[in-house]
């Protein structure tokens, strides 16, 4: 199992998000990447938290193209049409994260990513909330919806899928494992994100290990996070 981190990147700056609601500034992208490189994490998932309209895609992409990191990078947030894919050329990124494409009945965007960057490069991202019943966040509509709105064909085209617990985002624990059985996605391709330490430390609560966990970007604030997570495994 890999141990990585998510890094929220928006309008040229990085943030830490709490509960899908509060953003705490972390500074410039390169600064954050330099610090994260020191931890020798297994991967860094750079996510642009785009909800509804996206005015800064081009600007953020240009900044990301100049980013330097020796850690494997995944990038997503704002890849919504075929023109957006063309702008990704030359990025120092191995994998691409799609979210709104999972709600689109047309799989052309994922198929294009597949043809251009290979099957191994596509990661789905599903933000979810499981307070009373399971709801998934649709970035196109900027609201939580029933999981039935997900396009199963699009999900099948993803090499891995991030399940991001919005309620526990930025927290040490709280990832709701029930989402796995409720969504019914192939267990061999799951990545957990958002309050994941409980999942890792309490091995017996799940019968399998996800392919990866993303420990939010609090690693920048709690310097012992990575060691703690490895210790828990």
């Amino acid at each position: 199992m890999r141990v990585g981190t998510t890094l929220l990147f928006k309008d040229g700056y990085c943030y830490q998000s709490y509960g899908w609601n509060v953003l705490r500034p972390l500074g410039a992208l390169q600064n954050a990447l330099d610090h994260l490189d020191k931890y020798e994490l297994d991967e860094i998932c750079i996510i642009r938290p785009v909800r509804d309209k996206d005015y800064y895609y081009n600007k953020d992409i240009q900044l990301l193209k100049n980013a330097k990191s020796s850690t494997p990078l995944a990038f997503g947030g704002g890849i919504r049409n075929l023109n957006d894919i063309d702008l990704l050329e030359g990025m120092p990124v191995e994998r691409f994260v799609v979210s709104s494409a999972l709600f689109n009945m047309n799989t052309a965007l994922i198929e294009r990513l597949n043809a251009k960057y290979g099957e191994q490069s596509i990661v789905g991202f599903i933000p979810f909330s499981l307070t009373k019943q399971l709801k998934v966040f649709n970035p196109l509509e900027n609201c939580f919806q029933s999981p039935k709105s997900l396009n199963k064909s699009a999900l099948r085209l993803c090499d891995e899928v991030v399940l991001h617990d919005c309620d526990s985002e930025g927290e040490y624990t709280g990832f709701d494992i029930e989402v796995v059985s409720t969504l019914g996605i192939d267990k061999n391709k799951l990545i957990f994100s958002g309050g994941v330490s409980q999942i890792v430390s309490n091995d017996e609560s799940i019968s399998f290990k996800p392919k990866s966990i993303l420990i939010d970007n609090k690693i920048l604030h709690r310097e012992n996070s990575k060691k703690a997570y490895y210790g828990a495994m």
Binding site: R2, D37, E40, D42, K65, K68, S69, S70, T71, P72, L73, E89, G90, M91, P92, V93, E94, R95, N114, A115, K116, Y117, G118, E119, Q120, S121, D159, E160, D186, N188, K189, K211, S212
Partner: protein, 207 residues
């Protein structure tokens, strides 16, 4: 000087960052008419083989690479760049490669990609003089052990004997190669440019 084949595909920026970290001068090769001599040419990875080979053919890099290889030019292929050094890849319905090393690229027997870190030990001693007697001599290390980053759905299966054939250190993929070295060529299934310290040591050892 290291040359990087630039056909508008692949993670070139990651490669240039890697070379910068190791303080190695580099230049992009945007045309097969590039007259400069390079100590090593890198064929970068990330992509799908059909689009990659089509671009190499359109931009006339196929003849360039085959001729350079025959003349003893040192070439390092990374991930997809490594796949195209072989005869044939099963990806995208089947695509013929450059045929510089005899072998086939086949789909790996896993339910999803092999994405993650695996151990790797690289020993320079079986390499020929072409690699051992370089002027730059960045590192005098002979052997290095560490972890390297993989991200692939297809893997290399050799059909000839080579100087070095490191297998992937995973039970299900033990028939697939992680690194192949034959004469002036190195095919690297993993991403040394994203393998942190191990990747930097590897580059310094082979340059």
């Amino acid at each position: 000087m290291v040359g990087i084949i630039d056909i508008g595909l692949g993670n070139i920026k990651s490669i240039t960052n890697w070379l910068d970290r190791c303080v190695v001068p580099w230049k992009l090769i945007c045309s097969p008419k590039d007259p400069q001599e390079y100590e090593m040419i890198i064929l970068p990875g990330v992509g799908s083989v059909l689009e990659f080979m089509t671009k190499l053919e359109q931009l006339r890099f196929v003849d360039y690479l085959q001729t350079k290889s025959q003349l003893g030019q040192r070439i390092l292929g990374i991930c997809l760049g490594a796949h195209v050094l072989f005869d044939y890849s099963e990806e995208d319905g089947g695509v013929h490669g450059l045929g510089l090393i005899h072998g086939t690229v086949r789909q790996i027997p896993l339910k999803s990609s092999n994405t993650g870190w695996l151990p790797c030990t690289f020993d320079k001693r079986p390499m020929n003089e072409l690699w051992k007697s370089q002027k730059q001599n960045i590192s005098r290390k002979q052997r290095v052990h560490g972890r390297v980053f993989f991200n692939h759905n297809y893997g290399i299966q050799l059909k000839e004997s080579v100087d070095i054939d490191l297998k992937i250190q995973l039970e299900e993929l033990s028939e697939f190669s992680a690194l192949v070295h034959k004469n002036n060529l190195i095919a690297c299934q993993f991403h040394p440019e994203k393998s942190q310290l191990m990747g930097e040591l590897l580059l310094k050892m082979i340059l």
